[in-house]
């Protein structure tokens, strides 16, 4: 996204490859840890050692250990997007990945989604290695990704259709999810008839339809105007409160991170490393942007990113 000249030629999991690869279902418990995938033609051995299942944090939903991703440029140069990411996320957390542009936060999210293979390290969901995209990880993209040829309802029900759910139950689920995102009467419309904010709300509903273990959001509100963004942030918190989903939310907007997160993880500039990991007090909600506590956190995070108070 940020570096198309780098990403264009990487062949990790472009649409055509993973769909043919034999993605194992999530039943590989106890299986030997193998290199997840070769990167750029070279097989990169995942770090072996004494690591075994559950060694990090038995209760964690998502575990990363010494996770790294290396891009290969066309000239064969290796550029590390993220490095040494060790992190565990518990169920129910709202985690914001915060960092400057190009710090690899989207790369990290794409690895969790299964779109990119880690070059080294471990990455697990519920104790299983993440090898490819699957409906247990719902993704909301920065760019509008609703399928233009489907109605809103069919877009939301897409994951259920893939799972072989009956038409009647798909319709019921879509109706329910449209209610959840506050758009009850637009099921028959097409994406081109919706505003940007509505599209992203439908995208959230679509990602929630398969009842994923985690909702991955890649700067979903970055393209929206400020007022729509604030309204969607409030709605997202409402949805989070009602569904208690684990959320991994990428943003470069400090205010957005403080407003939304129960935990903010700050990544340094490329190669991205964790420089700060702050749990925000839950009693500090709703988080008024004008409150002294908000400003104090803002200053601290701004310092961690290295922008010193400017946004």
């Amino acid at each position: 996204m940020k570096f198309p000249f780098l990403t264009a030629k990487t062949k990790d999991f472009p649409g055509s490859e993973f769909e043919r690869s034999n993605c194992p279902r999530r039943d590989n418990e106890g299986q030997a840890i193998v290199p997840i995938r070769s990167v750029g033609g070279k097989r990169i051995e995942a770090a072996e050692g004494t690591l075994h299942r559950g060694s990090l944090d038995a209760g964690a939903l998502i575990e990363c250990r010494e996770l790294a991703h290396v891009y290969h440029t066309r000239l064969g140069e290796e550029i590390a997007a993220v490095r040494d990411i060790t992190l565990s996320i518990d169920a129910g957390e709202f985690v914001c990945l915060l960092g400057p542009s190009g710090c690899g936060k989207t790369t990290l999210l794409n690895m969790v989604a299964g779109f990119l293979a880690p070059s080294a390290g471990k990455l697990r969901l519920n104790g299983d290695d993440i090898r490819c995209p699957a409906p247990d990880r719902g993704v909301v993209f920065q760019d509008y990704s609703l399928f233009p040829w489907l109605t809103v309802e069919a877009n939301i029900a897409y994951g259920l259709l893939m799972a072989g759910v009956s038409a009647k139950r798909r319709k019921a689920a879509a109706t329910e999810l449209l209610e959840l995102v506050g758009l009850p009467h637009i099921g028959a419309q097409y994406p081109f008839e919706l505003s940007g904010g509505m599209k992203q709300r439908v995208a959230i509903a679509r990602a929630l339809a398969t009842d994923p273990a985690v909702l991955l959001m890649d700067e979903p509100f970055a393209a929206l105007d400020a007022m729509t963004r604030e309204s969607l942030q409030r709605q997202l918190l409402d949805i989070w409160a009602r569904t208690r989903k684990t959320v991994l939310f990428v943003t470069h907007n400090i205010g957005e991170a403080i407003f939304l997160a129960s935990r903010v993880i700050v990544l340094s500039a490329r190669p991205g490393r964790i420089v700060e990991d702050i749990r925000l007090p839950e009693n500090f909600r709703p988080r008024k942007r004008t409150s002294p506590e908000f400003n104090r956190l803002y200053e601290r995070l701004a310092k961690a990113i290295g922008v010193e108070g400017t946004e």
Binding site: P14, A113, F115, S145, F147, G159, M162
Partner: protein
Amino acid sequence: MSIALIFKGFFAHTLRELLSRHAFRLGALGLLSFAILWEIVSRSGWINPVMLPAPSVIARSSVELAANGELQQHVLNSLWRAFLGFAIGSILGLLLGVAMARLPRLHSLLNPLVQIFRAIPSLAFVPLAIFWFGIGETSKVILIAFGVFFPVWVNTYLGARDTNPLFSRAAASLGARGWRMLVFLILPAALPFIIAGTRIALGSALVLLVASELTGAQFGVGYLIQMSQQVFRVDHMFVGLITLGLLGFLFDYLFVCGLRKFLPWYGAENNHANGTRRMDGLKSGQD
């Protein structure tokens, strides 16, 4: 202020309505004046009326041809050939396009071959097709299918190869894999390309239809034109030409109507942004 706005809105509305009716009337006027001019030129004596029969004469001839059922037979025969050739050619183009886009090895194997064949204008195959398959139906249908195949194939191939990675990622994260990925993502995502190819193929089908009928047939609009030339019935030639023009226009019109009805989203993203829902974008082949 508000009254002025209301008036402005009102006039903008009526103006648009007037314009759209106006456009229709202007179109009719253009056609009519062309016919009148033609009629005058033909009757003026400046030109031999046998060489350029007047529209009224052509109209009478077409009524005659229609009355004894001859015209209908020509049209039906042509339509059937065009339909068969179009169906065979576009289905094959679609299948091979998708297969080559999804199987890189098949693409490497077949691509040079298909590209060379594509470079040969399909009209150049008319003599060979007659030599091989005679002047019967087979050669005509094969020729039309041949001409239809390439635009459908190349567009399907491009569409199925260059699926928007955002869509394939979204679909994969929703559980699409294998044949489901193909049927529920790659094919619909390639539809704009496939539609563009099919629309081009509609034109090629008519060209090859006439070319193959000119070489001989029992019935067919192209045959009507050819035979009329040999018996000096220039008016009948014009009947055939006008029929072809109307058929081509009708096909394209039906195509666009079908798109608007069944694929309302097609071309809508751009047009909607401009505040209009016209399908004009189709013509420029925006894809």
